[in-house]
């Protein structure tokens, strides 16, 4: 969802380091994928599958890996520009999505519990993922990835502390 001026001050981006972390993780994946495809191609090629058809297939597989590489390098930056969150007295609101835009709001009193988790790469750069659980069915857990770790902890504490004394369903 595009933000207009009045929203700009209230909504926040996640930590920009998240772009870097996502990019590195994506590129590692793309390189691994490319490596596997390349090895498979070479093995098949030298085992005698050298007709035109096979050569085209090899090229297509390699092109796919290359595409993955480019997308993984570019996408985190684009996706970052369209991800916002805000916490106000009503609750947590998240907006994300480049083509398909989503906007989810979790009122404070509906938070059942919240987790903060980190992958190995994220731990290196102090990035974390916040998962907010509600008693709902379809959006039973709402994820906000790429927060600064301390910020994620702070958010979790704020969300959980308030919801504690109230019935949730």
């Amino acid at each position: 969802m595009e933000l207009n001026e009045q929203d700009q001050g209230v909504f926040q981006h996640v930590n920009p380091l998240h772009i870097f972390v996502e990019r590195v993780a994506g590129l590692i994946y793309a390189v691994a994928l490319g490596g596997i495809i390349l090895i498979t191609d070479l093995v098949l090629f030298f085992s005698g599958m050298t007709s035109i058809f096979y050569l085209v297939m090899y090229a297509a597989a390699l092109a796919y890996a290359g595409m993955t590489f480019v997308i993984k390098a570019v996408w985190p930056g684009i996706s970052y520009r369209y991800t916002f969150w805000r916490l106000n007295e009503d609750g947590l609101e998240i907006r994300r999505g480049v083509f398909w835009r989503h906007q989810i709001s979790v009122p404070r009193a509906r938070v059942q519990h919240a987790d903060v988790s980190q992958g190995p790469l994220q731990r290196q750069y102090g990035i974390a993922r916040l998962t907010v659980h509600t008693a709902g069915t379809l959006n039973a857990s709402v994820v906000l990835n790429g927060l600064t770790h301390s910020m994620a902890i702070e958010l979790r504490n704020q969300l959980v502390r308030q919801g504690k004394e109230i019935h949730v369903v």
Partner: protein
């Protein structure tokens, strides 16, 4: 909000356990904790009194209720329950064993012996009692499992009674809490007197515990102390006469569902051991082709189709009569209790405070007859697709059939602030251009259908040369289909754009949708869990958005509040407003 013990999470339960209600703590504290967490194998012998049914006597002057056993016939019913659960392999085992082959007997042994052993173990190890305001159920031979369910958390003690149960005078009791999809405990089976006793014990404790903290809360919306509600005489709210059920059966597609299930079973068996191999339809049709003229064949075909339709409706009626015969909705205190069933009797409680979602359904035939059915969703009732009898009755089919003009009265019973006048609501239709958009989609789809027509024409013209291209002579079918579908698509698009409506009221949100089957659903601000707006690239082009509202236990009502093709500006404003309302209306009572 004051903290209420019903709300406390397990770590806080010690506070509740010491509630001064005169109960005698006959369990050591630590054991209670362990039991509360349902840990396995940590049970000390002191609270596993399977060997000391005279525990109550041993403790002398303390009137501790002894741990109770299930009814002796439980052995049989347990076995039946298992066989029903795995009906296909069980029947297979029985048939193969009956045929006398050693393989079959071995197979049956493999299936039945463990089940029998499990049933026997369950019967001889399962004990239950109410102690310290908790229902305690212990079970298991090697891995002892004890679960302690605080009475305050028990929502329902539901009852299922099939014919055999009724002959013996027993029933299956299902203890339900708000958590999870399965009943917290199933006591299969108990004598009716015992269940009634258990029910009374649990509910009186629950009310007593609920009354304690609320006494100080003067502004509590339901300030009346629970103890008075227990003594209130049950009041019949609704009884469904057989005539309504017959009409509901006529209107429903239940027969179709049942027949397809039967067909599915038939094919399963057919593949299993080809019992019905000699049932040869081809022979019959062959005979028909030889001995009758075309018109007679068409007549027979039509009659068969008609008979099949009548059969489907009859099956539907039979299903409704079996399930809901003698339906009675009774108010007891604040809760509603449903009892119904012809052979298998079900008695289920609806915890009115926990109703999350109310849905009124009317299919085409029901509308002709001015009937409706009401479904509800309660927290913890989000059963999976499986239709266990009590969930089916209490949620999926809260009220299976009701004249439309009686709907408002019933809804007011569910919630006092729900003054149902669906015509007076501030309905918002879809975005003005939604009709155009849907129509355009239908037209694009129609183009594909016209492609089908074109292929058919080509095939018809060049049939001789084209045999290899288009298999066989399908052209009459493709042309008819291609010409029939586009109008239907267009009608559907127009109807769809007109049928969806959304409204916000003082208490919550109402959504209506459906072309043939109208579904109108209500949820309440304090029951809304999350709000969501989605916009696809197409939505952005058309300046529209989808507004979705998530509640707990969504599913049984078979309707979601997710409104597509709304005007984007309206959605933006509505989202903010709903956000504010949802945050403001906090869930007050469990």
């Amino acid at each position: 909000m004051s903290s209420d013990p019903r709300d406390s999470r397990p770590p806080d339960e010690s506070a509740k356990r010491s509630a001064p209600d005169g109960q005698l703590p006959d369990l050591p504290d630590g054991v209670g904790e362990a039991a509360g967490k349902m840990e396995r194998g940590q049970l000390s012998d002191e609270i596993a009194p399977s060997e000391d049914p005279e525990l109550g006597a041993a403790t002398g002057n303390l009137p501790t209720p002894p741990m109770e056993w299930l009814h002796p016939t439980s052995l049989i019913f347990d076995l039946i329950a298992y066989v029903r659960k795995y009906i296909v392999p069980s029947l297979f085992a029985l048939f193969t064993a009956a045929s006398g082959s050693w393989v079959g007997i071995g197979f049956a042994t493999i299936i039945f012996v463990p089940v029998i052993l499990v049933s026997i173990t369950r019967y001889f190890t399962l004990r239950f009692a109410i102690r310290n305001n908790e229902l305690i159920v212990t079970e298991g031979l090697f891995f002892r499992e004890a679960r302690a369910v605080p009475c305050s958390r028990i929502q329902n003690v539901d009852l299922v009674q099939n014919v055999l149960h009724r002959l013996i005078g027993v029933a299956e009791a299902r203890i339900e809490t708000a958590s999870g999809t399965e009943p917290e405990a199933i006591l299969r089976v108990l004598s009716l007197a015992k269940i009634e006793h258990l029910r009374k014990e649990i509910f009186s404790r629950r009310e007593r515990m609920a009354a304690l903290p609320e006494a100080g809360e003067s502004e509590s919306p339901r300030g009346m102390p629970g103890t008075t509600t227990v003594t209130e005489a049950p009041e019949t709210v609704l009884q469904i006469p057989t005539g309504w059920l017959v009409r509901a059966g006529l209107a429903s597609n239940r027969g179709f569902v049942m027949v397809s299930i039967l067909l599915g079973l038939y094919f399963q068996f057919d593949q299993g051991f080809e019992l019905l191999e000699n049932w040869n339809i081809q022979q019959a049709t062959g005979w028909l082709n030889q001995n009758l003229g075309v018109s007679a064949q068409v007549l027979i075909g039509l009659l068969t189709a008609l008979a099949f339709l009548v059969l489907l409706r009859l099956v539907g009626i039979a299903w409704f009569l079996l399930r809901f015969h003698g339906y009675r909705l009774v108010r007891i205190g604040e809760d509603l209790r449903i009892s119904c069933g012809l052979f298998t009797k079900v008695s289920a409680t609806v915890p009115v405070r926990r109703v999350q979602f109310i849905s009124i359904h009317q299919n085409l035939i029901m509308r002709w007859m001015n009937l409706a059915s009401i479904r509800i969703e309660t927290a913890g009732g989000a059963g999976r697709e499986s239709e266990n009898p009590t969930a089916t009755v209490a949620r999926r089919w809260f009220i299976p059939v009701l004249p439309v003009d009686q709907v408002p009265a019933i809804l007011t019973r569910l919630r006092k602030d729900l003054q149902w006048q669906s015509d007076n609501l501030d309905w918002h239709s879809l975005a003005p251009r939604a009709g155009t958009r849907l129509l355009r989609m239908a037209l694009i789809q129609s183009c594909f259908c016209l492609l089908l027509v074109a292929f058919g024409i080509i095939q018809a013209l060049y049939l001789n040369h084209a045999d290899a291209l288009f298999m066989g002579s399908w052209w009459p079918f493709s042309i008819t289909l291609g010409l029939l579908i586009p109008p239907l698509l267009i009608i559907h698009a127009i109807k769809q754009s007109r049928s969806k409506k959304y409204a916000r009221t003082d208490y919550g949100v109402v959504y209506r949708s459906g072309i043939l089957t109208w579904k109108t659903s209500v949820t309440f601000f304090e029951k809304i869990q999350t709000l969501r707006v989605d916009q696809s690239p197409f939505d952005r082009y058309w300046k529209m958005a989808r507004l979705s509202i998530d509640t707990a236990a969504a599913g049984p009502a078979d309707h979601l509040i997710s409104v597509p093709y709304l005007d984007a500006a309206f959605v933006k404003q509505e989202f903010a407003e709903l956000n504010r309302k949802t945050a403001f209306h906090q869930p007050r009572f469990g």
